[in-house]
């Protein structure tokens, strides 16, 4: 690495390849996706991925960057989203006149952002006085409170049915009616890019750096002239704002918000997605959001036990891969460029083999047990091969690969620590 001695800053070309290039590639990817002939369903999936990318990145402003564990981040997405669905209706009612009549639906994420910031500013005021466990507990309480309140105030939150709007109302923006799914896709892609770039830029601001310093050592921050409570509070407002922006994107994509969106369930889901993606890397939550959204929409078609697999995956990541997918991806990238790549590739293949063996047993046990317990008499038959719950072979496949896999993985681990 070459550094400029007077400033220690990376050179212009390093800055380009490390900072600008990934975003340019990301933007190009977002632009070409609709041209590769994807179905409507796939575009909808991509839209949800975009929303979750912004949501997960905003969550990581708290968890990864500021070291604040929140169990209620969906509150800010929900409030931003609800506000935007209301705006959709105001735009429709205004019918082209007045302030709302001139607001294009395309701009809704800005309103979501403002609402998220406002909610963050109000709720963050008491919650950010303490970090650690107290902060986590308060966030849990707030989430419970907000989702209960949402069920009580029907006129604002629409009761169990929620409220819905029509994204095709209002003035067109650059000829976009927001009707066809392709147009919604470009809307989502645009705001995903804006959110991602803005949140990356935030990490490089004085406040962004102070948030990391506060995470590392809140006490020392005081002795360099900053109030850690203030740092947390400001970061919290921004995290709420970007979550609200994701809410605005979601309001346009799905045209409906229900009180469930404020509950602990989506808050827990984004925690898991962010963590699995890797909280120590800026790109981690992006990976996590892509994987989790994909799994959520596809795996559920294959197996009723997908939440169980998700839980197992989460626990395994926490235990064995604390740097998440991003840690694996960047580790792989570094590994294949290092001189010891062949040994590493050998190790990885062994690990994948071990994992595949473990996964085989786990899947067989889960699927067989699930069918056995639901009492419909279904038999798990992968590749047309019957595995009844009382078959000896079932239990051989359910145990032997598991043991073999664990042995292999432990062996790799041991040689790793000896090296």
């Amino acid at each position: 690495m070459t550094t400029n001695m007077t400033t220690l800053a990376p050179s212009a070309s390093e800055k380009f390849t490390q900072r600008a290039l990934p975003f340019i590639l990301f933007a190009l990817l977002l632009i070409v996706i609709p041209f590769i002939g994807v179905s409507r369903g796939t575009l909808t999936l991509f839209n949800h991925i975009g929303i979750n990318i912004v949501f997960a990145l905003s969550y990581n402003m708290l968890l990864g960057r500021a070291g604040l564990l929140s169990f209620g981040h969906a509150v800010y997405l929900g409030l931003g989203g609800y506000f935007c669905v209301h705006i959709l209706n105001w735009i429709a009612d205004a019918d082209g006149s007045g302030f709302w009549g001139n607001v294009p639906v395309f701009s809704l994420p800005i309103f979501g952002f403002a609402m998220g910031a406002l909610a963050g500013a109000i709720i963050g005021w008491p919650s950010c006085r303490r970090a650690g466990t107290a902060f986590a507990m308060i966030s849990l309480g707030v989430a419970e409170l907000m989702s209960t309140a949402a069920f009580m105030f029907d006129s604002l939150f629409g009761g169990e049915m929620g409220i819905s709007g029509d994204r095709m109302s209002g003035p067109k923006f650059f000829g976009l009616s927001m009707g066809p799914i392709e147009q919604v896709y470009y809307f989502i892609a645009f705001w995903t890019l804006v959110g991602t770039v803005a949140m990356y830029a935030f990490t490089r601001t004085p406040l962004g750096r102070l948030s990391e310093a506060t995470r590392d050592n809140a006490e020392r921050v005081q002795f360099i002239g900053y109030d850690p409570t203030r740092v947390r509070y400001l970061v919290f407002i921004f995290a709420g704002a970007f979550a609200g922006m994701a809410g605005g994107m979601s309001a346009v994509q799905d045209e409906i918000f229900t009180p469930d969106s404020l509950s602990l369930i989506p808050s827990g889901a984004i925690l898991i997605a962010t963590y699995i993606g890797g909280i120590r890397f800026f790109a981690g939550p992006i990976f996590g959001a892509i994987l989790m959204t994909y799994m959520g929409s596809n795996l559920s078609d294959y197996t009723a036990g997908w939440l169980l697999y998700l839980g197992l995956m989460f626990i395994s990541v926490v235990l064995f891969v604390p740097d998440g997918i991003a840690g694996l991806v960047f580790g792989f990238w570094r590994g294949i460029r290092s001189p010891g790549r062949y040994a590493l590739i050998g190790k990885w293949i062994t690990q994948i083999l071990g994992l595949a063996l473990v996964a085989t047993s786990v899947i067989v046990v889960v699927e067989v047990a699930y069918r056995w317990s639901d009492g419909y008499g279904d038999v798990f038959a992968p590749f047309g091969f019957d595995l009844p719950h009382n078959g000896a072979l079932t239990w051989v496949i359910g145990t032997l690969p598991l043991l073999a896999g664990i042995l292999i993985l432990r062996r790799v681990k041991r040689t790793e620590s000896e090296a």
Binding site: T7, R204, P206, G208, D227
Partner: protein, 258 residues
């Protein structure tokens, strides 16, 4: 008459029933290098914690450049021009050395809590960061995560962060503790250079460092200052000698010879 950089007037501090600081009076002139020595558990670090705003005094007044700071939060005391280091390294472990120093510079460089500026775009900030790192000799390790530094380098980083901002009163709590002989010499030179023209209060057990660096010395025993004076006065003070029994009294003599 110029006011003192730092003045403690009848300061008391108790933790529950334990009276740790009992009527502390201390005056440090502007530009003075003042050492505080005393046996383990005498209350030296507690005294620093009171001055720097980490603890609130039970009673008494603490004046920084004539302004009352006793009981103010630490970040406000820091903004008034006082910076301190810690006896146990207190750094941002997951950030690089450069980032540690850069963060320590943010406030004095006028960045506040800015979220509309890029830390990389302020040339002054980059240059000052590099200058501090150059000065303390950590420039080659600028991109190393602080947690991976050797013990002595972490101590140096601790000093670098303390002197980085433009505080004119610097408190160093045992900056050379645990360093080897040559590392200590290096650190003392660094402290001498970096605190030129500033007010320094240093807690140190190494008598060589104390007698080599200090203009005046205060001896703190059981929460009270039993003697204050020039190094040679302290060395000859019988009260001081009796407070330092055995090895420490020996050290006092050796420090005097050095």
């Amino acid at each position: 008459m110029t006011e003192a950089a730092l003045q403690l007037i009848d300061v008391h501090k108790s933790f529950g029933h334990a009276k740790i600081i009992q009527g502390l009076n201390l005056e440090v002139a502007k530009g003075e290098r003042h050492a505080i020595i005393g046996p383990n558990g005498a209350g030296k670090s507690t005294c620093f914690n009171l001055i720097s705003g980490r603890f609130r005094p039970t009673s008494g007044r603490i004046l920084l450049n004539g302004k009352e700071v006793g009981g103010k939060p630490a970040f406000e005391v820091n903004r008034l021009g006082l910076s301190r280091s810690f006896q146990v390294s207190n750094i941002f472990a997951n950030m690089t050395v450069r980032e540690n120093v850069r963060c320590s510079l943010l406030y004095s460089q006028g960045h506040g809590y800015a979220f509309w500026r890029n830390v990389g775009s302020s040339r002054e900030l980059q240059e000052k960061t590099a200058w501090v790192l150059e000065r303390v000799g950590l420039i080659d390790k600028a991109h190393t995560p602080a947690a991976l530094l050797s013990y002595a380098d972490q101590r140096t980083l601790e000093i670098a962060m303390t002197i980085a901002g433009d505080a004119d009163v610097i408190l160093l709590d045992e900056p050379t503790a645990g360093m080897s002989h040559s590392e200590t010499e290096y650190a003392v030179e660094l402290i001498r250079k970096a605190t030129e023209g500033k007010t320094l209060v240093i807690v140190e057990h190494d008598m060589g460092v104390v007698f080599g660096l200090a203009d005046r010395i205060s001896v703190l025993v059981y929460g009270e200052i039993i003697a204050t004076g020039k190094p040679e006065e302290i060395r000859g003070d019988p009260k001081v000698r009796s407070a330092y029994l055995g090895d420490d009294a020996e050290a006092l003599t050796l420090g005097g010879a050095a």
